[in-house]
């Protein structure tokens, strides 16, 4: 059932990487469709490399006009649908948000990403009004330093974590060799060779923690919907 969109109108904020990491992790247990709505089609390119999980279907978005039908068809087929959106403020993003059970907003700990994330939160609120339902969303920090953070990074991160109106995931997608490697050699963090990739086990733990928190959030929002009903 869950449709999870990864959205941020700023390019390079980590949407594609975090979407793929979650998709591959979920695909170890359940069928997943990932819709590649980035015009550069990075996931479609990745899918042509070896070791794509059998449970994972990659659908290439055709256009703004087709995105709703693509999401609907995927959601009728698979229990998990992940939408990797383009890095621009576009109507396609609004359409995908309107169908989502959870919108994840990946962002680096940088001012430009933060401003784009805030703009997206405002758009999510408009889309909620349009479809007359709550659309849960959460901030996901990406490309973070696993060890020591800079002063700016700490400042930006704190502002989001301290904001009571926002959900910010505790798990972060760290800057890791493994996350770059999957786009070069294919597969997931589970199929990479630890002799060829630095700190692979840490990367696997990182993805596991991220996926676990997303599942927890989906369960909470599912329970909340059931209580309202």
């Amino acid at each position: 059932m869950p449709i999870i969109s990864f959205a941020n109108s700023k390019g390079g904020s980590g949407k594609t990487t975090s979407a793929l990491l979650l998709a591959c992790e979920l695909a170890t247990a359940r069928p997943v469709t990932i819709i590649d709505a980035d015009p550069r089609h990075p996931l479609t390119t990745w899918a042509k490399l070896p070791n794509k999980p059998r449970n994972l279907t990659v659908v290439t978005n055709q256009s703004e006009k087709t995105i709703l039908d693509e999401i609907e068809a995927a959601a009728a087929r698979d229990p998990f649908v992940i939408v990797d959106l383009e890095g621009t403020a576009s109507r396609l993003t609004s359409y995908a948000i309107s169908q989502s059970d959870l919108v994840l907003i990946p962002m680096k700990e940088q001012q430009q990403d933060a401003l784009a994330a805030i703009e997206l939160v405002q758009e999510i609120h408009r889309d909620m009004k349009a479809v007359r339902r709550n659309i849960p969303f959460a901030i996901l920090f990406t490309q973070t330093k696993a060890a020591v953070k800079s002063r700016t990074a700490r400042f930006i991160s704190k502002q989001f974590h301290d904001n009571p109106k926002l959900t910010t995931l505790q798990a972060e997608i760290n800057e890791r060799d493994a996350f770059s490697a999957i786009f070069a050699v294919g597969g997931s963090v589970g199929t990479l060779n630890s002799k060829e990739v630095n700190n692979l086990e840490s990367a696997q733990l990182n993805v596991h923690a991220f996926a676990a928190e997303v599942i927890e959030l989906l369960r909470k929002t599912k329970d909340a919907r059931r209580e309202i009903a």
Partner: protein, 90 residues
């Protein structure tokens, strides 16, 4: 939680998440989002324009019908043509 802390994903329980049934409300939701969204369409504009010569009463009726349903004239024209096709097919 940063990467160093392991939290096991309980995959067994993911069975609670099922595919969803298709709904008939997609066109309505698309329209609602079009009205509310501030994010603009980036699609290439493929719209054209044509003049229609017809009796004033027909033009007035067409405009009023479209306006009462809050459609643009072009969108309403397509709805009428689709309805005509359906009746023709049926």
């Amino acid at each position: 939680m940063t990467s160093g802390e392991r939290k096991i994903l309980d995959f067994g329980d993911l069975d609670e998440f099922e595919p969803r049934q298709k709904t008939a409300s997609l066109p309505l939701e698309r329209k609602a989002v079009d009205h509310a969204a501030a994010f603009p369409s980036r699609e290439r504009d493929d719209e054209g324009q044509m003049n229609i010569r017809a009796p004033e009463a027909v033009l007035k009726r067409f405009r009023e019908m479209a306006k009462s349903e809050r459609y643009k004239l072009g969108a309403f024209l397509e709805i009428l043509m689709n309805a005509y096709d359906q009746r023709h097919d049926g």
